[in-house]
Amino acid sequence: MILFALWGMVISGMIGFVRVVTGPSAADRLVAADALSVIFTMLLVLLSLYIETPFLLDVALAFAMLSFADMLLMAKYFEHGELYK
């Protein structure tokens, strides 16, 4: 059952990645990047359940924090750039 959930998250990660590639403007890519960071945190959590090593929850939490930092960085330093076509 957890393997099915893992496959679901990987496929939704793939679909989210399509929006990163085709996004017309930088803002869509920002949105897709935010969604991808959440999906990959969930992927790490499900993986830690699947292979029964509880240490991966630290990896998931650390990754959630750092991708949140990247989101704020992107949101701030792209204000004066060309963000929306």
Binding site: R29, F40, L47, V59
Partner: protein, 328 residues
């Protein structure tokens, strides 16, 4: 074991790598590069390497992507290079390079294929797995290797970080200290005030439990530096400079290095050789407890101080350049 899942993750890594390379828009290639890094961390976790997965996840999205975004937003006004290449005719450049790289790929695969014999633990690894608890008192074998069996190599690694930090602050120095108050919106500021203590606490837990669970000096220091970036970004560099001035960051960094060398000398003074752990004045303690790995806890603290202060001063210098450019 989940062969098809690993195969699909490898395919996903290659897909994001191709997108990162061949897409002209820089922002999407940066995002696909960070996705490649995360998928690498997932594959490392699947290949039973949680320590490396944690380091890859932290360094890739905490350091590489943040620096890439800061450098990219610094060069936003310059036009993207296009048009024919000046050095040599472009029809010669594309196919020739493609041919060379294809041959390289075939050669690499051929070489690795012949080496892919039956994998068994060599003598050194069996020794590490069997003797770590008795010889160093630490539970995390990888941290034991890094901080006890090869501690001198970790000292060399911290000097590499020291050189990188010195080089970057030399390159991007100059210009007055910018006291910009320009941060993000009010909601994010209040939210960050709520969130920052927990981030710092979690970074300290990664740092201090380095010898029990995956973690250690480098990972904890990088998370500390990321919190420093967040404060710079959310509250503006003026707020950050007044809280932790760059002078104190340098003293913290040098203090970390000196602490590392001092612990080594302490081991040597005790007659156990430079950086000696249990032969020196340190005791193993009960295996699961915090003070269990002899001098590993203090070595982790030293490395964490160094990496945290060094990386946050790198970020401060780079974001300061950005703020200055914003002022003009």
């Amino acid at each position: 074991m989940s062969e098809p899942l690993l195969a699909f993750l490898y395919f996903f890594i290659l897909l994001t790598a191709f997108v990162a390379v061949f897409l002209d828009d820089l922002l999407s290639s940066f995002i696909s590069l960070s996705v490649t890094g995360v998928l690498m961390a997932t594959v490392f976790a699947l290949l039973r390497a949680p320590d490396v997965a944690l380091t890859q996840a932290i360094i890739n999205s905490g350091l590489i992507t943040s620096l890439l975004l800061v450098a990219y937003s610094h060069t936003r006004r310059t036009p993207l290079p296009s048009g024919p290449c000046t050095a040599c005719p472009s029809w010669l450049r594309w196919p020739l390079a493609a041919l060379i790289c294809f041959l390289l790929a075939v050669l690499l695969f051929r070489g690795m294929y012949s080496l892919a014999g039956e994998r068994a633990l060599e003598t050194a690894s069996t020794h590490f797995l069997a003797e770590t608890l008795r010889e160093t008192g630490a539970l995390n074998v990888v941290a034991a290797i890094l901080l006890d069996y090869r501690a001198f190599d970790t000292l060399g690694e911290t000097t590499v970080i020291f050189a990188a930090v010195a080089g970057i602050s030399l390159l991007l120095s100059g210009g007055k200290h910018v006291r910009s108050r320009q941060g993000l919106s009010f909601i994010v500021k209040r939210g960050m005030a709520l969130l920052t203590p927990f981030l710092l606490l979690y970074a300290a837990s990664i740092l201090f439990l380095g010898h029990l669970t995956p973690g250690g000096g480098f990972q904890g220091g990088s998370v500390f530096a990321t919190v420093a970036i967040l404060i710079c970004v959310v509250y503006g560099t003026g707020f950050d400079a007044s809280r932790v001035s760059s002078k104190s960051k340098e003293t913290l960094e040098v203090g970390g290095a000196l602490l590392f060398v001092f612990i080594g000398l302490l081991g040597a003074a005790w007659g156990g050789g430079f950086l000696a752990n249990l032969k020196g004045p340190f005791f193993p303690g009960t295996p699961g407890s915090l003070f269990s790995g002899g001098n590993m806890l203090f070595l982790n603290l030293a490395v964490g101080l160094k990496v945290g202060a060094g990386l946050s001063s790198i970020f401060y210098v780079m974001i300061k350049i950005l703020e200055q450019e914003g002022e003009q």
